[in-house]
Symmetry: C2
C-alpha cells in the first residue's frame, strides 16, 4: 500500500504528488506566455534550473501539446544551436470575453497572448440582460471553435465586466451601465457553458491594467493607472508592482466621483459625476450627435474633429479639460509613473493632448505633474480582452498537468 492509498486517495495518480514538477511546468509555461519564444538556454537562466531539468520540463510540455520546440536553421552563431521553445497555434486557448454596453467581444487567445480568432457582437442598450449575454457568449464559443486552428482546445472562459465583481464566485455586484446589480453571472454562465470550461469574472479596468502591465505600455512600470473610458469610466491600478484591489476588490471606481455637485444629472442619481463629463455620452452630446455611443460612432467623432469639424473638435477639447482634472485627482492620490488612457479616452488624448496636459498640470500637486506620463494603450483596443484571457490562463499556469487532462 503506497502513501496515496494510505491517505484515502486510492484513485490519485502518483504523478499528482509531484508538486515541484507541476510548479516548474507552470513557471516554464508562464515564461513563454510572458516573453514569447525562448531558447532552452534562456529558460535555464530564467528559471534557475539545470539544463537537464529544463529538458525534461520542455519534453513534458510538448508532449502535452502545450508548447512547441523547434531547432532554428541557418543561424549565424557557431556551435550547436539552442532549441527554441514557443507557443503553438493548435495549443490551448483562453476564451476571453469583454462585455460592454454596446458590444460583447469574444476572442480565442493562445499562449503568448496571441489572438487566434475574434468575434464581435453589437448589443443594443436594452438587450444586456445577464441571460441574453450569457447565451451570446456560449454561442460565441462555438464561433471561435470553428475559427481556431485544427486541434486547438479551450481551457476556460475569462469575462470582463464594466462593474464591481466578487472574484471568488463571479457575482457582478454593480454594473450601473448594464443595469446589473448582484447578478450571479459566473454561476449563470457556468450553467450554460460546456462543463469542462472553468469561468472567471473580473472588472474591465483591472483586467486591462494587468494586460498592459504584462505586455503593453505599462511593461516594467510599477506604479500605473489604466483609465478606461467608454460609456462608463473606471480605473485599474498597479501600485508598487501589484494590483491595487482594496478591501472588497473594488478599488478604482472613479466614474462616480463627483466633480461638481451642481453639475449634470448622472444616471446613478447624483449630479456632476466624472462620467457625465468624460463618458462617451457626454462627448456625443457636446458634439451634437444624437447617436448611440458605439465604438464606431465614437471613432467618427474623433475622425470628424481631425478633419476640421468645429463642433466635434470643441467637444473633444472640452472633454480633454475635464479628463485632465480627473487624472489630476488620481495622480494626487496615487502618484503613478504612467497613466494609460483606454477606450474613447485614447481618442481624446490623441486629438487634444495639449488641452489635456494643461488641465492635468493645473490640477496636480506641483512636484508630481512633471513626472507623470500619459500614453495610449500598448495593446490598442485589446487590453481588456487580453486581461480577460489572463483570468482563464491563471489556472493553467498554476497546474499545467491538471488542465491539460481536460483536452
Amino acid at each position: 500500500m503506497n502513501q496515496s492509498t494510505a491517505r484515502g486517495r486510492p484513485g490519485a495518480r502518483p504523478i499528482r504528488q509531484d508538486d515541484i514538477r507541476r510548479h516548474n511546468l507552470g513557471r516554464l509555461l508562464g515564461q513563454v506566455h510572458r516573453h514569447g519564444e525562448l531558447t532552452r538556454a534562456d529558460l535555464t537562466q530564467r528559471l534557475n534550473l539545470s539544463r537537464s531539468t529544463i529538458g525534461a520540463l520542455v519534453a513534458d510540455l510538448t508532449e502535452l501539446g502545450l508548447l512547441d520546440e523547434t531547432v532554428p536553421v541557418g543561424g549565424e552563431r557557431v556551435g550547436r544551436p539552442s532549441h527554441v521553445v514557443g507557443p503553438r497555434p493548435d495549443g490551448p486557448y483562453a476564451i476571453a470575453v469583454d462585455i460592454d454596453v454596446t458590444h460583447v467581444s469574444t476572442a480565442a487567445v493562445g499562449i503568448g497572448g496571441f489572438v487566434l480568432a475574434i468575434h464581435d457582437v453589437p448589443t443594443g442598450l436594452r438587450s444586456s440582460s445577464p441571460v441574453t449575454i450569457a447565451a451570446l457568449i456560449v454561442s460565441a464559443c462555438d464561433e471561435l471553435a470553428a475559427k481556431v486552428p485544427d486541434g486547438a482546445w479551450p481551457i476556460g472562459i475569462g469575462v470582463s465586466v464594466p462593474g464591481t465583481v466578487t472574484s471568488s464566485d463571479g457575482t457582478v455586484e454593480l454594473a450601473p451601465n448594464l443595469g446589473w446589480r448582484d447578478e450571479p453571472f459566473g454561476q449563470l454562465l457556468a450553467g450554460l457553458a460546456p462543463p469542462n470550461l472553468p469561468i472567471s469574472v473580473g472588472n474591465d479596468a483591472d483586467l486591462a491594467v494587468m494586460a498592459e502591465h504584462m505586455r503593453g505600455a505599462g511593461r516594467g512600470c510599477n506604479d500605473l493607472i489604466y483609465l478606461a473610458g467608454r460609456i462608463g469610466v473606471g480605473a485599474g491600478v498597479i501600485a508598487n508592482g501589484a494590483p491595487l484591489r482594496g478591501f472588497m476588490g473594488h478599488a478604482g471606481e472613479v466614474g462616480h466621483n463627483v466633480v461638481d455637485a451642481s453639475g449634470p444629472r448622472c444616471h446613478c442619481g447624483r449630479r456632476g459625476c466624472v462620467e457625465t463629463y468624460i463618458g462617451d455620452k457626454a462627448l456625443l452630446k457636446l458634439a451634437g450627435r444624437r447617436v448611440s455611443p458605439t465604438i464606431a460612432h465614437m471613432t467618427e467623432v474623433f475622425a470628424a474633429a481631425e478633419l476640421g469639424d468645429v463642433r466635434a473638435a470643441a467637444a473633444v477639447r472640452t472633454v480633454a479639460v475635464a479628463l485632465g482634472q480627473t487624472i489630476g485627482s488620481l495622480v494626487n492620490i496615487l502618484n503613478p509613473e504612467k497613466v494609460i488612457l483606454g477606450g474613447s479616452l485614447a481618442g481624446v488624448f490623441g486629438f487634444a493632448r495639449p488641452e489635456l496636459e494643461a488641465a492635468l498640470v493645473a490640477h496636480t500637486m506641483m512636484t508630481d505633474r512633471e513626472a507623470v506620463e500619459l500614453c495610449a494603450p500598448g495593446l490598442g483596443n485589446d487590453s481588456t480582452l487580453l486581461g480577460a484571457a489572463e483570468l482563464a490562463f491563471a489556472r493553467l499556469f498554476a497546474d499545467p498537468l491538471d488542465q491539460s487532462s481536460q483536452s
Copy 2:
C-alpha cells in the same frame, strides 16, 4: 590572516560578520517594540528559534541596555515562571518631531512606543522658516534629554512634515502651508543636530497611518486610510498591508483635489480645493471665528458646538458634509476597510457623525458604502509623532549592535 583582514577590513570586529545574529537581535527587539512585554516562551514561538538562541539574544540585548528582563513574582501558574522581556525606561529613545503650521511637537519615544517626554512649541504662521524650525528642534532635543529617565539615550531623529518629501535625503519638496519648496531640511537639521543622531524625514499622514496600523485603530487592517486634517489635508494609505507610496513617494496628496472649480479661492492658486472645504481655516471661517487655526482654537470650536453654539454647530455640520464627499471619492478609488479621521477631522467626526456618514453614503459606490468603517485615531493626537519615532527606530531594528555602539 583571517578572512576579514584578507578582504582589506583589518579593523572590522569579528562580531560584525554575524549577520544572522544581528538580524535576529533586530527581530526580537522589533517584537517587543510592537507587542510590549513578552515572555521568553512567546519569543521562542514568534521568532521560531530555539529556547537557547532566544536566551542568548535576550542576554545580548539586556547587556546592551536595550531591553530589560524580569522574573514575575506571585503568578498563579504552577512551575517555573517564564522570564518577561520588555522595554526599559532608561533605554534608547527616538526623538520624534511633528512639524505643523502652528506648532512643533517633539517627543522622546522609547521602545514599545512609550512617550517618555514631550515638548510642544507653538510657532507663529510667519515663523516657520526651515532654519528657525531646525534650531527649535535642536533645542528641544536638550529639553527632552533633561526630562527622560537617567541613563536613557537618543538614537536618532524622525521628523514629520506636512508636505511631500524625498525620503532618501530628507528634502521637503513641497509643504504649501509652511511655504517650503525644495528645502533640503534633512541636511539642514543634520548640520545643527549632534553628529551621532541620524535624521529621517517623512510625510505626516504617511507616518500617522504607519503608527495607527502598527498599534492604533488600524491594527490588523490591511486596507486603511488615515485622513489628516489640520490647516492642510493629506492622506496616508495602507493598501494590501503595505504603505502606498506611489512612483515618487507622494501618494495621498488629496488636499488640493478640486471639489468644485467655482469654489473658494485656495492659497495654492486653484479654486475649490478639498482644503478650502474641510481645512481648519474653512471651519473657523464658517464658525465666524477670527482666530489662528491652533489646536486649542479648533478644540474650542468643537466644545462650543457641543455646548449648543448654533453657529459653531452649523459650521461643523457643513464641514462634515464636505468631508463625506472627500472620503467618498477616496473610498471609490481605494476601497479601504477603514478610514481613520485625524487632527481636527476627529472633532468633526465626533460631533457630526450622522451628517458625515450620510454624505459618505451619497458619494460612494453602492457596494462599498456599507462596508467602510469610520473611526477616530487609536493613538489620539500622537499618531504622527509615534510614526515619526518609527522612522528613527528603523535603523535600530535593522541592526541593534550598530546603533547601541553610539550610546
